[in-house]
Structure formats: structure tokens, C-alpha cells
């Protein structure tokens, strides 16, 4: 592996699914420290399932997940937060009837008492001024993009080392998408690792270091983002069928 980018997260042969349905059939990949890695793949490839499995929301039936050298397979979200991992799921995940400030605050619920939550909230509001403006309004009054910002800010409250972020751009205006991606780039600059699932593959890969292509629960390609961007097979993959001949 690259010397300056050591592996921070590794999945080894993960099998997981819902009930009788198996979605992940031995997913294996590595994520390098302080990079943005984007997972792409057609619908049903198991992208969101990977995140749920990493974050202990779905039981891995086989395989191991390692974070910073320790085995974190099938542990609780609480433990993972303590390890420095946070998860921003797809869709809207705010508490609509709580105020913006209180939504933020709950991001620190699992924090040890040594951390001053109020200071962290203050810092988050400095970083995202819109949240200060709306601090005492119900979170449901925020626009879609603002809600996503709130979610990210909430996830960042504990200064995570690794962020799992699922489809951050869905339902956001292009301007908002740009802003979200800028935040992610800033985080990377500070040494945070980001693993992202994104449907908007092109723009996501443009800000990424690495890219992973998932298909039917398996890692199909693991390349640098640039390689993937220039690979015509990626486009074809989404439309099916044409991958085999060139891949061989």
C-alpha cells in the first residue's frame, strides 16, 4: 500500500443481507487514510448495505471489518462513534420537531464527559453560519439542503476520523451539492477519511482520490478516481452487459 496513505478501513469478504436475501456476497475493499473514496455501482449493487453493515445496523454473516487495525465487525453504533466513525445515512435524518441547536446537540450524545458539547456546537455554528441563523427554529423548517448541512454538522460534532456518507447530493440543488462537496474536501485536508456512496458518480469521482465499483454485492473495480473517470467501461456498467468483453 501507499506509504503516506495507510489503510484505515478494510472489509474482508463481507456477507450480509435482509432475511432470505443476500445483498453483499463477499465484499472486499480497503480505504486509505485521509482520502475521499467514492463507491459507485448500479442500483441494487449493495452500496447502502455496505454502510449499514459497517456501522453495525445490519449483521455481517461472514467476513471481517477492520478499522485502524482493530476488528469492528458487528459492533454497536455507540462503540463505532467512540472509535471515531460517523454515519450520515441517505435521505432526511433530522429530528423534525426539535430545534436546529438541539438536533446538533444530539450528535454529541455519545460523547465522553470530557468533551464540552456546547463548545462544539458553537464551533459548528461558526463553520455553518446558516445553522446559527436558524438555531432556535424547528429543524423541519429548514430547506432540504440546509437539513443535509445540519446532518453533516451533527455528524462532525465528535470530530470523527472516518465519515460514511450515503448519497449526500440526492435532492439537493447543484449549488448545494457543490457546497457539500467543498465541505468534504476541507475535511480531507484536515486528515479525515471519507467514504461516500454517490449516484452523481462523475462529480463525486472528480473530488475523490479513489473509486470503488460495486456490482451485485462484490467489488468489481478498485482504482484511483481518475482511472475510473476515464474508463469507458464504467458508463457501460450502469447500462449493463458491455463490461465482460473489455474486462477480459
Amino acid at each position: 500500500m501507499d506509504t503516506e496513505h495507510t489503510t484505515v478501513l478494510a472489509l474482508d469478504n463481507i456477507v450480509a443481507g435482509y432475511g432470505a436475501m443476500t445483498i453483499l456476497n463477499g465484499t472486499t475493499f480497503k480505504v486509505r487514510r485521509a482520502t475521499i473514496t467514492t463507491v459507485i455501482g448500479p442500483n441494487g449493487a449493495g452500496k447502502s448495505t455496505v454502510f449499514k453493515t459497517i456501522f453495525g445496523m445490519l449483521k455481517a454473516r461472514a467476513g471481517t471489518i477492520t478499522f485502524d487495525g482493530t476488528d469492528i465487525t458487528n459492533t454497536t453504533p455507540r462503540h463505532l462513534l467512540a472509535c471515531g466513525i460517523c454515519y450520515v445515512p441517505q435521505g432526511r435524518n433530522i429530528f423534525p420537531e426539535l430545534t436546529v441547536r438541539h438536533n446538533l446537540e444530539l450528535g454529541g450524545f455519545a460523547a465522553p464527559s470530557s468533551i464540552n458539547i456546547d463548545e462544539r456546537i458553537e464551533a459548528a455554528m461558526v463553520r455553518f453560519p446558516i445553522l446559527r441563523q436558524k438555531a432556535d427554529a424547528q429543524a423541519s423548517t429548514l430547506s432540504g439542503g440546509q437539513q443535509k448541512l445540519l446532518e453533516i454538522a451533527r455528524g462532525l460534532l465528535l470530530d470523527p476520523k472516518l465519515i460514511l456518507i450515503d448519497e449526500p447530493s440526492i435532492g439537493l440543488s447543484p449549488l448545494m451539492v457543490q457546497e457539500t462537496f467543498d465541505i468534504l474536501k476541507n475535511l480531507r485536508a484536515k486528515g479525515v477519511t471519507i467514504l461516500m456512496v454517490e449516484q452523481n458518480a462523475k462529480s463525486a469521482l472528480q473530488i475523490s482520490d479513489d473509486g470503488l465499483v460495486l456490482e451485485l454485492g462484490r467489488t468489481r473495480m478498485a482504482e484511483t478516481a481518475e482511472t475510473l473517470l476515464n474508463d469507458p467501461r464504467v458508463g457501460q456498467l450502469f447500462l449493463g452487459g458491455a463490461m465482460e468483453p473489455t474486462a477480459a
Binding site: M57, P77, Y87, N93, F95, L98, H102, L106, A110, R154
Partner: protein
């Protein structure tokens, strides 16, 4: 006018008790989808804890109240959740409904068989006196109940909105899976709501038993009142349950006086049916968001 004020205030007092019971009922529904058909019996029981403690342990009234509150927390809170709700949740709503119906029969029969089937006099927490306000005679009990219930509601509000713990409980009710992602111990939060419910019903029991006397059938009307208050007010709002309870208490009292004493119980039921059909989300509630 004096008569109206009198009826209104005493209705408000009963309504305040309904509201407490309805708030507890709704908290359980919000955090764990428990429709507690034994909620009425939960209000009936703590009074008998008090009587039992006085009779068997030979303690005075106030120590007995302490014991009763403790017993409520343990039995109606902890044990109820652990022994009945938890094992049943995976089976869905209907088996849990049936279980709580069975529980209500169990509690009722237990009191009847092991204590008494007769109505028992129950000491009020403060001596009863009549106060004269604007020409109306209002019992000190009513005022006391209103004060205590308001204090309880304010306290609960302070807990739910004013503390980090309370907000974590709200978060659990609003979106348990996200709460879990943030590391909120969802299970413990749900347990807290069961304990809060136990406290609320104990309080209601202590206030209503001096008026109705302690009797094993008290739960029948109280449970129904709590459902109605919760539904009329809106299932997803604490303040809805409070408003629902107060409206119910007042309407019941006024209807008994001005419409028909015999159909006193019918008015709230008709109100319930109309609200469910016309505004299923309740008067104060928001419509649940459509999931497509």
C-alpha cells in the same frame, strides 16, 4: 353563570387528570408503539398499593404513598415493559393489544379477589374545603388537582424539552433508527418513558381516588377517557393529549348538566368517532408524512 363556572372548573380538574393519563398513554405509543389497554387499570392500581401498604405494613398515609409510587415504578413501569411489552413487540400490534387487555383483566381481578370488591374510601392529599369565587362554589380539591397536574405537566415539559436526556427521548420517538446512529441508547430512553408513565398514573390515582373512591372497576372509564383524550388531541403531540384531556373533562361535565346525565358518557364517544373520521391526526396533530 355561577353554575357554569362551577361545572367548568370541576370539569377542568377531571380533565387535568385525564390529561396526565393520556400523556403517559401517548408517550408509550410514541416510543414503542404500545397501545396500553390496561392504562385505566394502571390508574386504579396505585391507590390499592397505598391501601395495601397501610393495611399490611401498618405505615401511615404518606409513607404508604411513597411505597405506592415505588411499586408503580417497578411494576407498572419496569416489569410491564420487560415482561409484557418487550417479548411481544416482534409479534406486532395486535398480540400486544390482546396482552394488555388480558393484563387489564388480571389487574382488575387481582384487586377484586385479593383486596376487596367494595369501593374503599381514600384519603385526599389535602383537606376538602369550599372556596367561593365569583359566586361559584369551587372545592379546594379541584384547585389542588389543577395545581398538581399543571406542575406535573410543566415538570414533564421541562424534562422533555429542557434537558439533553429529554431531547434524546424525543429523538427516539421521532426517529429511532437515526437516534441509534447517533449513539443514543434507544432502549434505555424507551424504558424512561415507561417509568414516566408509571409516575403519571400513580399521580392520577392519588388525585382521583378520593373523588371516585378506590374501586377495582375504576379503570374502565379512566382508560377510555385516556384513549379518547389522546386521539382527540392527536397521537403525536404531548400538548395534544393535554388539550384533549381538558376538553374531554369539561365537555363531559357540561354535557351531563345541560344535555343528558344518562348520556354523559356518550358525548365523548361521539366526539371520538367524529374526530377519528374527520381528522384522524387529532385536533392538534400533524398529518403523518406520506411515504412514497
Amino acid at each position: 353563570m355561577a353554575a357554569f363556572i362551577q361545572l367548568f372548573v370541576s370539569g377542568l380538574a377531571t380533565g387535568a387528570i385525564y390529561a396526565l393519563v393520556a400523556v403517559g398513554f401517548m408517550l408509550l405509543w410514541q416510543t414503542s408503539q404500545t397501545i396500553n389497554f390496561a392504562q385505566g387499570e394502571f390508574v386504579m392500581i396505585p391507590a390499592f398499593f397505598v391501601l395495601w401498604a397501610i393495611k399490611i405494613l401498618g405505615v401511615g398515609f404518606w409513607p404508604a404513598v411513597g411505597i405506592a409510587v415505588l411499586a408503580s415504578l417497578l411494576i407498572l413501569g419496569l416489569l410491564f415493559k420487560r415482561a409484557i411489552v418487550d417479548p411481544m413487540l416482534k409479534h406486532g400490534v395486535l398480540p400486544l393489544v390482546i396482552s394488555t387487555i388480558a393484563l387489564s383483566i388480571f389487574l382488575k381481578e387481582a384487586v377484586k379477589d385479593f383486596y376487596s370488591s367494595q369501593a374503599q374510601p381514600f384519603q385526599a392529599m389535602i383537606p376538602s374545603e369550599d372556596l367561593h369565587l365569583f359566586g361559584a362554589v369551587i372545592s379546594s380539591q379541584s384547585i389542588f388537582i389543577l395545581l398538581i397536574a399543571s406542575a406535573a405537566v410543566l415538570g414533564l415539559n421541562k424534562l422533555l424539552n429542557g434537558t439533553r436526556l429529554g431531547r434524546a427521548m424525543q429523538a427516539t420517538a421521532q426517529n429511532p433508527s437515526v437516534a441509534r446512529i447517533l449513539g443514543i441508547p434507544v432502549e434505555r430512553m424507551i424504558m424512561y418513558t415507561f417509568l414516566i408513565n408509571a409516575l403519571l398514573v400513580a399521580l392520577a390515582s392519588l388525585m382521583i381516588s378520593p373523588i371516585y373512591l378506590a374501586k377495582f372497576t375504576n379503570g374502565d372509564t379512566l382508560g377510555l377517557a385516556a384513549f379518547i383524550a389522546a386521539i382527540v388531541g392527536g397521537f403525536n403531540q404531548v400538548r395534544g393529549a393535554i388539550v384533549g384531556g381538558l376538553i374531554l373533562g369539561v365537555i363531559e361535565n357540561l354535557a351531563a348538566a345541560y344535555i343528558s346525565a344518562q348520556y354523559r358518557g356518550a358525548i365523548p364517544l361521539i366526539l371520538l368517532i367524529v374526530v377519528i373520521l374527520w381528522r384522524p391526526q387529532g385536533l392538534m396533530g400533524r398529518a403523518e408524512e406520506r411515504t412514497v
